[in-house]
């Protein structure tokens, strides 16, 4: 059932550019897609390991900056040394963005998972703020408030077919869709595995999880690495699509946007961030004609409070319960095959 829904939805997304010609709406869908990927990555931490990480935009921004700088080149003086980097192809930027964001996820995970609860939240916020201030002040490298401009468009090099630069909106749309689907599949595999079970176990009852031999720090850090790497991928897509980034990419409000997407959609569900991302990505456009930006944000704030009070699980679990009230746990097919024959066990 769910698989069918997912496939129909995917088919809808695949054919969408065929009938939706408006470049502005396509533009909105592309940025929505990018933020949805970021929200999916946040969901891994927020929904599956239960850690309220509020510095997530740092990884998104680091991905964007790494990818932009890799493709633009830079020269920086650090003490007596001068580092000169010649521009590399965009694909290299994308890969480096994923790797370096993942590495930052590792470092921050190692550091911040020493604490929990309020401390953890504040530490993660602080991390994003430090990165913002570094991006703002290390002008030699990042151009600071002058912004990194003229970032090249994404270019795919296919062996034998040469390099294809994605100038238009439609190719960018498909690129983002492809990365989003890939991210979805990776996350789905991860949470359905032993590793995903360990993460959920940590969220539900850390002591009990530890008592069966699950290494807390290891799995939290692993979740942080994968989550950060995916956010970095989203950041890279963002940088090469909008072609300009500045330190305000690290503002707390963007993390909040991702959090709203995850929480409203349903944290700890695969479809949650997708649904939340689509709603909150496209809502501003639909509201724009009727509401000023301030009213829009006020609406977001009210919606967030509403969700917490009324639908604490989020939209997806609520809709699922309505649609399939009794299918809380459909026996997975694989399990059914080893189910014992009916009768007394012994």
């Amino acid at each position: 059932m769910r698989r069918a829904f997912a496939l129909v939805f995917l088919a809808f997304l695949l054919t969408l550019p065929l009938w939706l010609q408006d470049p502005y709406l396509l533009h909105i869908l592309i940025t929505t897609g990018i933020f949805t990927i970021a929200a999916m990555s946040l969901n891994l931490l927020l929904g599956y390991t239960g850690q309220l990480s509020l510095g997530h935009v740092a990884f998104f921004g680091i991905g964007a900056y790494v990818s932009a700088l890799t493709t633009l080149g830079f020269d920086v003086d650090i003490g007596p040394w001068t580092f000169v980097h010649e521009p590399w192809p965009v694909m290299a930027g994308f890969v480096l963005a994923v790797l370096i964001s993942g590495l930052c996820g590792y470092l921050i995970g190692k550091l911040s998972f020493r604490v929990r609860g309020a401390y953890f939240v504040i530490v993660t916020i602080s991390f994003a703020e430090v990165v913002r201030l570094v991006a703002l002040n290390w002008v030699d490298l990042t151009q600071g408030p002058l912004a990194l401009n003229n970032i090249p468009a994404f270019a795919l090099s296919v062996p034998g077919l040469g390099e294809h630069t994605l100038w238009g909106k439609v190719p960018n749309y498909y690129l983002v869709l492809a990365v989003a689907v890939a991210a979805y599949i990776l996350i789905k595999r991860l949470v359905g595995s032993r590793i995903g079970r360990a993460m959920v176990a940590l969220k539900e009852n850390e002591s009990l999880a530890v008592s069966v031999g699950i290494d807390v720090t290891r799995y939290l850090v692993l979740a942080a690495i994968i989550s950060a790497a995916l956010a970095g991928a989203a950041g890279s897509l963002y940088a090469h699509y909008v072609k300009i980034i500045d330190p305000e990419i690290f503002l707390f409000i963007y993390t909040v946007t991702m959090v709203i997407m995850v929480v409203a959609g349903g944290k700890g569900t695969l479809a949650g961030p997708v649904v939340g991302g689509l709603i909150f990505g496209t809502l501003p456009v639909l509201l724009r004609s009727y509401l000023g930006p301030e009213f829009q944000w006020i609406f977001y704030g009210l919606f967030m409070i509403f969700i917490v009070f009324v639908l604490p699980q989020g939209i997806v679990p609520a809709v699922e319960q309505r649609l399939f009230p009794s299918t809380r746990e459909p026996p997975p097919e694989a399990l059914a095959t080893v189910e014992p024959a009916k009768g007394e066990p012994q």
């Binding site: 829904f5 600071g144 408030p145 002058l146 479809a271 997806v316 809709v319």
Partner: protein, 386 residues
Amino acid sequence: MLNMTKLGGRALLAATFAVGFAAAATAQTKIGIIQPLTGPAAASGNYVANGAKIAVEEINAKGGVLGQKVELVIEDNKSNPTEAAAVAEKLITRDKVPVLMGAWGSSFTLAVMPKLMEYKVPMLVETSSSGKITTSGNPYIFRISPPSAVEAEAFAPKVQALGIKKVDFLVVNNDWGRGAADDFSKMLKSKGIQVGLVETMDQAAQDISAQLNKIKNSDADTLIITTAVEQLTLAFKQAAALGLKRRIITTGGSQNPDQLVEHAGAAANSTMHLTFFTPWKPEMSGNPEAAKAFIEEWKKRGYPFAGLTESFRGYDGIRTIVAAIEKAGKAEPEAIRAALWNVELKGMNGPIKFQKAGPAGKESGQSYPGVYLITIEDGKIIVPQS
């Protein structure tokens, strides 16, 4: 999930219709404006936008352009480059404006420029002063504000008269501030004058006392400050509180001297300012009648007098664009771009006529307006006779 998709689809469809309908119903000539309406440069951005509105009402009262009313679509760049690029994208692809005006700060304008190339839409630059804007080879750029190098040259004759020996800089950390520090340093050095500290401040910084404290301990006799009026107010107050006694000169024409007098009080006394319009003496303007009428209208609407040194840019900018549309005979980007080269207009601070700047073959347009050095004495603005 199905329900959500359906709902989303229906809403999307409705929105598409709404957009289409709106476009069909209003046969108006649209001009897109990108200004900082919020954030650290908000005061200036709002003044410019209001100046533009006055120009549009004036033009529409006289029957509009090409028989159509002019309609402004104003977007907020939130004093941020990425946001400037994003709203440019929106204005061009969604509102389908054939021409833009903006984006106040140099960094915001530079951010918009690739979008102009991508969609081939011209933009009139009303405030930005960074040299990069007209030298990077963007043929869609037409600037009516002076680049900081021009400002520095205009100031050059005064250097000797003021007896300046050594100068420190305190500039906002963006293309505007850094550009001004570079261009003024170059001019000063060519006159054999020493350049000391170059301190920067984030455009949102409130506490600048650390930089000022450093400057206080230098041996320069003059401090050149480049930033928007809010931060200037803070810098003046904090300099006074630190007992920093130094000749202070500000550049960039976004000082709104009356606002400085009002908010910084005695701290603004004996400071000097390079401005591009003298609303205190409209007769000095390049177009005295228009200047007087504009000032009257501005006051009538209850806007603060202080805003005039900024709002005239919006007023002149829109008049220039409309003149180009008139000449082009149609409100289409390429035609407007071509026509802008032929516009000749009496602006508030001198004639507006674009000359070629930047690499050959893809030149930007640059007009060269007047620059004035005014002084604040005992809370009064002193305008030089010339």
